[in-house]
Structure formats: C-alpha cells, structure tokens
Subunit: 155 residues, 2 copies
Amino acid sequence: MKIELESIGYIENDRRKIKDDNWGSVTSKIILRDSFPAESLAGLEEFSHVEIIFYFHQVQDQKIVRGARYPRNNPDWGKVGIFAQRGKNRPYRIGLTIARVLKREGNELIVQGLDAINGTPVLDIKPVFRQFLPTELVRQPAWVDELMEKYWENT
Amino acid sequence: MKIELESIGYIENDRRKIKDDNWGSVTSKIILRDSFPAESLAGLEEFSHVEIIFYFHQVQDQKIVRGARYPRNNPDWGKVGIFAQRGKNRPYRIGLTIARVLKREGNELIVQGLDAINGTPVLDIKPVFRQFLPTELVRQPAWVDELMEKYWENT
C-alpha cells in the first residue's frame, strides 16, 4: 500500500548538523505551512507536552537498514532489529519525539527538547494525553541506558 | 515536500468496526510485509512497550479537518485545533499509540492496547525508551480526562 503524505510544516532551530547527543537545551520553532490555518494549533498551550512526528529528510537511501544492526555502530551492544531501536536510518525515515510546549504564536509552536535538525519536515503534531502514557514500569535493555547517557545533557 | 511511504505491515485483531472506547483488552498482531526480514524485530521482546505509528486508512478525504473542531463533536468541550487533539480525521491520517509488548514470533509482534482496527497499515514500530518519556508532570485540559474516561476500559 503506497501512502502519499506532505509535511505540515518544518522545524527551525540552531542545529545545522546531525549530532547524536546534547539535545536537552535545544529550542525549536515548528512553523506550519500556509495551507494550515493558525487555529489548527489552538489549545496546544493547555498541554505541557506534544508528540512531534517528523521526517529524517537527510538520510540517504543506501543508509536505510531493513534488518538488524548495531545501535550507533557499537558492537558491544550486539545486533538489534531496526524496529527495536529509534535510530534515523530506518525504513520510511519517520522520527518521533515528545517535546515540552513553550509557547504558541500564530502558526508557530515553540518547543524544547526536540531532537531534529533545522529544516526537518514535520508530519504531525499530537498533544500528549496522560492516559496514553505507560501505566506500568517501562522495561528496557541495558544498552539503551548507555546510549542515552548524554542524549539530553545540555551543551 | 511530497513524501512517499509504504506500510511495513498491518494489524490483525478482532476489531472490525471503528469505535471510540474500550480498547484496553484488545490484543493485536502486527504482521510485517515479506520484504522485511524477521530480524528487523529482534530485541523487541526486551522492551515492555512499543510505539506503533499507523495509518487511519478508512478516513475519507471529506472528513479531514485542517483547522479546529469539537473533539468527538462535543460542543461542551469547545473548539480545539486538530493538532491539539488525537482524533483520526487529521491531515495525513497518522495514528500513534504506545502498546504493551506481549510476544514476538517470527515476523509478527503481538501487543496489547493498540487502538486501531483490523487491517490497519503500520508505518513504523519504535521501542519505548524511558528517557523519551516526559520527566515532568504532564498537564492537560479537563476535556481530555472526560474524553478518555472509557477509552481503555475493558468490554
């Protein structure tokens, strides 16, 4: 099944280069395309968090992994299926992150902690509902904690 | 920017009809397409939760809202921008839910609490990392708690 999408807008921030870590202090503007009225964002300021679905537009075809690989090319962590990691070199290049809502201004939403570079196309914005978060303890393998060690650390 | 995707697989469960509530006890199989090797799911059993990005394939063009609307057509809750709600009649029809991992079997992942009907195309699967969940209190407007009251209730 082929699915054709367009971006709803794009991200503006001071991250020009792809980088693994230190995303915590990054503030981003999500600027909607002209074809979306500003009222499509109405009410987002009543939420503390949003989920941003975006498109890793700089990933080249030959980098895409459809099977398993070492997370961050680190053989110490063993090979893991691409759907058991969150890395960008994935089929269809879909990124997804929960960010903090700072402000809404017209057709712009300003957020903190979005791990995407300047110019990244955005596919959707959803408010975080408490009832959609895990209610039980979240279990994950040890390699995730190692990989995430400096991810949100401020620069 | 036009973006062309394909599904990575589809959902199999006993929900044939679109329904707002009672998703808690629904168990779903996510069956990968043949073009994805089973090893693409390797390691998912080490996670308690996954994020499933899917496609609301039954939503008709004329139902799509690009501005604001009443959540669930309930005027008591006031009009809210489509990006400040999680409803299905949204631009590009992207759905997103955190589900519990029950089991992995070959090219199938079995999950609980996925609010999508039988036959829904899946666009991506990502493991839930604890470090990607909100670390602060999640704030949301009162209408969300009313709307979600019976959402996960068992039938």
